[in-house]
Subunit: 453 residues, 2 copies
């Protein structure tokens, strides 16, 4: 039984797919504090021109430079798997396929954009990139990419993670990055926090402030973000493009596509290339899967809000739980985001993208079921997609429908085994929709009016 | 630039290569305590008939059952890489290729034999497998394989590792294995040790005793070993067979093949299929790379010795440092073995296989160089092969020889980041050949005489 569908290196996509070209309505622009759209010049302090252009572009196909493809070849094209054993375990007539993005050296889909961002920054003469990281997935990806393009990478890692999760930090150092526990002594933002609270554990918000300060204050330094923005989702579309080609090779086309959804790059990466067909009339469901504890698309509002927790970024039109919503400490750290990509949000608002929230324990159960049948131990983020697929495959077992299901196995769980430990020890819990918390944080939405006309 | 050379699933080898068919002299047989060769019946208490037959077989090609191939397809054929970036970094005219065995779900080459052993045990009606594990690489592989063939797996994990390296334990549990800290209360061996020393940290020797006791004492239970034995090396030859096909696809043939060598399955796996050509007159160097701190092939003696530290196993004719030699606590746990496979040992004794010892710090330097150029963070065992290849590639840079070098990247370092941490912190040291220690332990070699005639 054929298990893996492999593309040759020479069949790796040559262009990224820009979903903005096929959206029925142009995406709502980011707004400044004055309520006016933010122009490219405002972004130039921290991003190179090519990425700003991609952020705004309406071109359907954007060429992938050969230098980027050359690095991507270290792990791409990634294999598409037919999950024969999982199907048998579920006794389902559904066909289950998954794209294995865990094969990248950093262990997730994140390097797809890290490599592109490092390249364009090097082309713009930049010598140094800064970023923030929580558990370290994104920091690792940028460290790897920076190393391969000869850029210094400075990662501000939330202090509590820096000490509690040392292994991703070691990995960043192996790839040559400078990793600072945030708050650090090397930025004003860091020093200000430390003066107030020398024992501060840090937060993603503080780490962002430090990374942006370093980038804004130095001519040769830029900032890199791992999700949410249009150009980041663009770079991930290579996942869905490859998957389409691979399914074609075995004469299949999905009825439904699933991916975890935090900031949106995982979902956009696999789903957008299929959206192109949907926009052209094809029937296909694109399902963004999120945790019930951080139900941005399923329980949030579609409104302008800050991209970060503190209110430093431009305002983005998106589904949000309120920028100061603090989700519970679930183990899928990559899905603990109060907002969502503007592109995914708008498509969901227009009814073109579906969303589903799944509780934590169900996701770990699905992850273990997957590991025991397919071998690979999935990252806690990826188990969200698996849980949704398992639900659908069981439904097919009841109805007899032989649906074709595709999902993005966005990463492996090698650095998340402590979470599996807690699951086996019965220490995990589910979090109901924290109704009051969301209502409270939604009160703090910025008051902006913006008329598209 | 083509980076990966991929075989199609349908081109995965259908037979294992048995090096015994091409050895100039038949391998020396294992001996019992009475100095007489051990017959198949002595092994039947803990191994299934098919594996005992493979252990003794002189057939050149042994078919791989379809059920095994079907599981191997979850990650095989593994990719062969051309290390373009490493070559550039070394400014060498050498061509460097590596086989990436880190792509298996357990992260190393070990599942190649775990899957075969689980299959043959299931076919023999066995319900349960026992084994020992130190850091957990082998335990993980057997847990995965047992799960896929519906066997219960009991892993006795050295207690100090059980507590200090919890993540491989969690992985075994994710794959459904029962993991016991050894010494445990569930065996006589364990209880005896605990009665003497309730705080015992355990050792690999004790864990072996517990696993073998469980297997010998129960009709439905067998024991599985991760290296050293002939059938284990046989199952690994799929690595070298694939590599040969892949090199053929790009018109290459190696001048030298390198692999780490502890018990010998890593080295035998990639090197033996090339030995077939060497036996037929082809010029090729096969280099087993070991740590200077445990220099079995380079500083040991070729003699009959016990396979384990305590003296439970039959006597094996092999290079040994003495069965009670205790190597220093280097980070390449898989290479801390006092002996070596009888097959590798005999080929080395006959001058057909070369050996090279490299010091610890050089191996980590090579690992970091590799990670920064090729992306993948290698396991400390694998860095031994990399260090040897780096030496050779530098030599080629001096002489201008465009040699073709192949090595086995046997595993990733995701569970070894604490070792990289210590390397970066300058806390690692090299161990010189511990002369007196070896001379001391060699005094304890069992006195056996066995005349091949």
């Amino acid at each position: 039984m054929k298990t893996k569908i492999l593309l040759k290196e020479e069949d790796m996509p040559t262009h990224w797919y820009n979903v903005m070209a096929d959206m029925p309505n142009p995406p709502a622009p980011p707004l400044g504090p004055d309520g006016k759209p933010v122009g490219p010049e405002a972004l130039a302090a921290i991003f190179p021109p090519a990425l700003i252009e991609q952020e705004m572009s309406a071109e359907r196909w954007i060429p992938i430079p050969e230098d980027i493809r050359d690095v991507l070849r270290l792990w791409r094209p990634s294999p598409l798997y037919r999950a024969h054993r999982l199907e048998q375990a579920l006794n389902t007539p559904a066909k289950i396929f998954y794209k294995n993005e865990a094969v990248s050296p950093a262990g997730s889909h994140k390097p797809n954009t890290a490599v592109a961002q490092a390249y364009y920054n090097r082309e713009a003469g930049i010598k140094r990139l800064t970023t923030e990281t929580g558990a370290g997935q994104w920091g690792c990806s940028l460290a790897l990419a920076g190393q391969l393009f000869g850029l210094e990478v400075r990662v501000f890692m939330v202090k509590v993670s820096y000490h509690q999760k040392p292994y991703r930090r070691s990995m960043m150092q192996t790839w040559g990055a400078n990793v600072f526990a945030s708050p650090s002594e090397i930025t004003n933002s860091g020093r200000t926090i430390l003066a107030r609270d020398p024992e501060s554990d840090g937060s993603l918000g503080i780490a962002i402030s430090e990374a942006v300060e370093e980038a804004a204050g130095r001519e040769d330094t830029n900032y890199a973000l791992g999700s949410v923005l249009n150009h980041v989702l663009l770079h991930q579309t290579i996942i869905g493009e490859e998957a389409k080609k691979q399914l074609e090779m075995v004469g299949e086309y999905p009825d439904m596509v699933f991916a975890p959804c935090g900031g949106g790059s995982n979902f956009g990466g696999i789903a957008f290339p299929f959206f192109a067909d949907k926009a052209a009339g094809k029937e296909i469901a694109l399902v963004a899967v999120e945790p019930t504890s951080c139900p941005t698309l399923t329980k949030g509002v579609y409104a302008y809000d800050f991209g970060d927790a503190i209110g430093l970024t431009p305002l983005l039109k998106m589904y949000t739980l309120g920028h100061d919503f603090m989700p519970p400490g679930i183990h899928a750290g990559g899905l603990r985001y109060h907002g969502d990509s503007a592109l995914v949000s708008q498509l969901h608002y227009e009814g073109l993208v579906d969303a589903l929230a799944v509780p934590q324990i169900e996701t770990f159960e699905a992850g273990v079921l997957f590991a025991r049948n397919e071998g690979i131990v999935p990252a806690p983020e990826s188990t969200h997609a698996i849980a949704a697929v398992v639900r659908e495959a069981k439904r097919c077992a009841e109805t007899g429908e032989p649906k074709t299901l595709l999902f993005n196995l966005s990463g492996h769980g090698h650095f998340d085994m402590a979470s599996y430990d807690r699951f086996f020890a019965g220490e995990l819990r589910d979090y109901d929709y924290p109704d009051e918390a969301i209502q409270e944080s939604l009160k703090h939405l910025p008051k902006v009016k913006f008329d598209m006309g």
